[in-house]
């Protein structure tokens, strides 16, 4: 088994929480992991990504080769597209629809969604607004992970255990919120209807 996932977003959006859940789950399933991440200058509101590689055999490269990612999981729609060169043929795109616009030449949103829809396998969900409904917009990343998990060979059990373990430091309430978000994501992916953009 080999899984290559690119996580993407903007510095400060917290993609490393998603990485930590994936890593913890994979470790509990006795799988090998390599996960590279960005520290430094780009964390100040620049483009950031993390390469997550999970396998039952030895993993050599810390970076995913171009054209070898099974999935790009993004917390921001334009950042999703930045890593298209890494996507496998028929690989999956999973993203929040919520844009993060801290640059002057941010593209038109409808054009962005249209571009994403040109790739066959995509899931666009309004994770941030769903998360707000549950109680905290920060849980958007667990909604996205939930949706992505339906396409990954990691067990639901090990992922939920990982969420419990990682958020336990914060509070029981936060654990519950994130588990709920994760379930919400699974549900949204299973009953996926094409994302429709309305301004």
């Amino acid at each position: 088994m080999n899984i290559n996932i690119i996580l993407s977003g903007v510095g400060g959006q917290g993609i490393l929480t998603i990485a930590a859940v994936l890593d913890t789950a994979a470790l509990s399933e006795n799988l090998n992991i390599k996960q590279s991440e960005v520290h430094g200058m780009s964390q100040r509101g620049g483009a950031v990504q993390s390469h997550v590689r999970i396998s039952d055999s030895e993993i050599y490269s810390d970076l995913i080769p171009e054209g070898k990612a099974d999935m790009i999981l993004s917390v921001e729609p334009m950042e999703l597209l930045r890593y298209i060169p890494y996507l496998k043929k028929d690989g999956w795109l999973v993203t929040d629809s919520k844009s993060f616009e801290n640059i002057l030449d941010y593209p038109k949103r409808d054009a962005l969604y249209k571009q994403i829809k040109t790739y066959k396998n995509h899931i666009i969900i309004n994770a941030t607004s769903e998360a707000k409904k549950i109680g905290n917009s920060k849980a958007a990343n667990m909604i996205l992970l939930g949706a992505a998990s339906t396409l990954l060979p990691l067990s639901k059990e090990s992922l939920t255990e990982a969420i419990k373990k990682l958020f336990a430091r914060k509070s029981e309430k936060i654990v519950k919120l994130n588990l709920e978000a994760f379930e919400k994501g699974i549900e949204r992916a299973q009953n996926y209807t094409e994302f429709v953009y309305c301004d």
């Binding site: 992991i33 996960q35 960005v38 430094g40 298209i84 996507l87």
Partner: protein, 535 residues
Amino acid sequence: MKNLVLGNEALAQGAIDAGISGVYAYPGTPSTEITEYIQKSKTAKSLGIHSTWSVNEKTAMEAALGMSYTGKRAMVVMKHVGLNVASDVFMNMAVSGINGGLVVVVADDPSMHSSQNEQDSRFYGKFAQIPILEPSNQQEAYNMMHYAFDLSEELQLPILLRMVTRLSHSRSGVTFKERRMQNGMQLPVDTKRFALIPAFAREQYETLVNKKSLLVDSSEVSKFNKLELKDPSIGVICSGIAYNYVMENIGEDNDYSILKISQYPMPKDQIKALYDYCKMVLIIEEGYPFIEEILHDYFEENPKIIGKLSGDLPFTGELTPNIVGKALGLTRHIDEGIPSIVSGRPPQLCDGCGHTDMFNAINELIPEIGDKNVFGDIGCYALGALPPLNSINTLIDMGASITMAKGAADAGMEGAIAIIGDSTFTHSGMTGLLDAVYENTPITVIISDNSAVAMTGAQDSSALGRIKSICLGIGVDPEHLKMVVPLRKNHKEIVNILREELNYKGVSVIIAQRACVRLSSDKKEEIRQKIALIN
């Protein structure tokens, strides 16, 4: 169970388990997490391992040498350009040798993700004539620490351990081993070798040069170097992380002839064996063509040897599995580009950052002083070189804002401004300020003090609560030492003060003090208390 750690954290745990008594460091991407890991480690705390940040890399390395002098093991950590700052002690401690094991960890940043250049630290190791270790993965990084300290004590030399960004910042499962005890205090039998007056230094240098063959022998039998001779049509020499990219492309069951190098000086016999056995030799290394140049020296300019110099691999930027695949003739698929709709997203100052208020004030005066007068420095405020601010004209190395402004003023520039952060000021700005004070050079220095080393992740700044007294101590005229609070509501006041000081024909310092907005309220409170205690 394996521990999921960054390459940097693997090194740090390796150092704790190898029995260090202290780590000395100044933050710098991609090296910072090594020291932070030890600072947060409960084990390290209970063992009394020193881990407080130093003011700069030079003071860090000297302190590490001091600890080694007492017989205890010490590690010193920095980013590649930090070694430029520490190079004086680095070169000389190779001559004096060490007492307790001493490992210098330097993290290079190929592709300049967060740096001004992509210098390759292996050249420094060669320059100082000491062994260099270059791990290829996280487990090796951990294992190497123990080995490095043993080697250091055996050879009585400092060891250079070279990391690169991708290994520093990538996690993997690592198995930890047992921890060994720290060394007890054991002062050198003969301290003469640490007193490098010419007579002693000549003797010591002779000793260093005579160790050369011992160093090569050690590389030849090192468990971290590995030679496999299979298919003779092409031999691959790869070092450090490049080994992974090669293996990623060719897989476990391959019949390539490969020499993996993770310890230098180069294992000459192994290289010779591969060279004689193979028709072609491809060299894949992260950084400059270090091995490749040496091979051309061994075998003379030779078309049989290919790599970066022959153009088979790019000279600049970091390696990737795809670049390596191409050099091996294995990557075939045509890369799909990034969709044209995607815009660049460069980093920028946070909303509400105090540095922005200072740039806004400077920018208002640019019509009066000209747009080429602002000398910048390194830190978050370096982003003032980018749109929309476009305030800074120069950024070279830590501290150069003040000294370059001075040089320009000496040349006749009027209204030269230096802008420097609090940590950069204590790292390398203070000495330059003394130069300016000594001559009363007409420059205006803005110290943008956010009570943190923000760029590298908000570490504690040694400058905390001391900037004003340092400036007064250096001899800045109290009349021209101004304090401002960089807030939008104070914009007019800041512009007026800046204009006044620009008109003064001598050294002025404006300290702009407001904590980095990214600090938690707890941290800000802690800072307030510390400042109150100091003053």
